[in-house]
Amino acid sequence: MKNRKSPLIGATNTFEQSLTKPREEKHVLRLYIAGKSGRSILAISNLKKICKEYLKNNYELEIIDLFQFPDLAQVEQIIAAPTLIKESPLPLRRIIGDMSNTEKVLSGLNLK
């Protein structure tokens, strides 16, 4: 993605590189919760566990309480809580729920 403006050959190289090391791009994740409810806490701990196990340290996780930033719900098009937004790598995904179904979380994160 970084070499979008480079010549065709450069682009091809980048593409090939990305094919050989697909897992290396950093995951940018944002978890939106609605207050410190049991469900929120469960989601946070579940998510942290999964990240530690599958993403090693190659991720960024931000946890945002919508009660503190209510305007973000509209900006980020969030209706359910908790909602995890996977900003990158693309495609953008919204993973909703308390993250107790690890299989589905992984599929949402494109790790499986």
Binding site: A34, D71, A80, A81, P91, I95, I96, N101, V105
Partner: protein, 567 residues
Amino acid sequence: MSKIANANTTIKLPKSPTGITGFDEITLGGLPTGRPTLVCGGAGCGKTLFGIEFLVRGATQFNEPGVFMSFEETIEELTINVASLGFDLNKLIKQKKIALDHVHIERSEIEETGEYDLEALFIRLEYAIDSIGAKRVVLDTIESLFAGLPNQLILRAELRRLFRWLKEKGVTAIITGERGDETLTRQGLEEYVSDCVIMLDHRVTEQTSTRRLRVVKYRGSVHGTNEYPFLIDESGFSVLPVTSLGLEHKVSNERISSGIPALDDMLEGKGYFRGSTVLVSGTAGIGKTSIAAHFAAAACKRGERVLYFCFEESPKQLIRNMLSIGINLEPWVKKGLLQFQASRPTLYGLEMHLAVTHKFVNEFKPNVVVLDPINTFVTNDKEFELRTLLMRIIDFLKVKQITALFTSLTRSDCGLEGSDAGISSLIDTWLLLRDIELNGERNRGIYILKSRGIANSNQIREFDLTDKGVKLRDVYIGANGVLTGSARIAQEAHENSEMLARKYEIEFKIREIERKRKELEAQVEAMRTDFKSEETEANKIIEEEQQMMKQLEQDKKVMATSRKAEF
């Protein structure tokens, strides 16, 4: 409408006026304040617009800001869509009177990983409500959530919570829902929103579409239960609460001319009552429009405003045609006293016609309305609907004290009176134009079939369309009824010659008597002369006799003296 307003004060349930024309009348005040209302209907029936107008009117007329949460259209789309109705959403958003939020759910982006709730939606809605202090909320169409979120159980529980939350929040809300197969809404939202349910409908019958609105349910309030036609046009939504009218309209004793002096004469010499309903029915080409045009022109001459609906001719054609019988309508059009509304009856459904009529009448505020003709609206099998339509139009016009003239084309193969019998009871004055076929001719006859409150003439009069308008002819009654056309002319000639003959006879008689008088006088004179001469003769004789007697006496005396005798 003041009666309805009074009735409203006895009802405890507070209501928020929608500002939608007519709707507040059928619901006696608007939507229930602080409660959610479900507006359901099929695609394209105007649910979104109803919601938008509720908010815009609330923000602009009732100082109640509102939040519009759209689950389908984006903010840009909405703004553009309603701009055509004269609503400037951007301005209202800037003024913080309206907040728009587009909830976009992309099914493919979402992965469910366990328990969740819609708290984020609540937060979002609350934030929007609080940011402008909203009193009104529209959720359009919340059922889209069902397509975006797979877990129906959670969704249903959350919706129930949402509507309860809206009530607690005290906002007057409209929730729209797509119509389902057997239920009011596809997802059964009526289970959750049960205070007030409004159904919008968009039906197509015989290729014409009509929009209808019905208040299915209104907890704690009386409401009109009928299906009301409504319009969506450049000024927004308008519902017609026409059947709510009673027969309580004022009546006028004022009389207005029909525009034809001889016809006025048949109506006690004064014409129609103001605010009455006149029906002119007759077969094709008999002159219905001409009579209508006379009436229109006469009203304009009095300085009144006339709204002329023509369903068969274009205004230009009508003006041209009327010019040929000496009625010039053009100046009145230019003066703004006469307005034509021409459209094919098939353009809209019946209800739509009603709505359009309402709209134009409200805009133009005429004294006289002409509908020419009414029965092209429908074919015979829809008589009931035509009747309802007319009843509504008539009621509406009567309340406004507008004199209405309808023309109606009757088919010659069925009875003239029969074909219009269905609407007869609605009509105050009914002029029947009929062609009288006699001696191989067709002539025009007019008579007043009925005229409520007027001692009308019972004559069938013949009339002609001359270059000076409709002229009623004198009545000639022969052995076979009224004489018309050449039979009338023959009768006229016959009567003329008879009159002439009589005149001669009288003159003759006068001369005769004169002659006789002269004769008599001559005789009298002659007799008098005779008498005179005889009298003179007699006097002479009498005198001679007396002379003789005197002589005799004298002679006797002389003789006695001579004899010295005593007497």
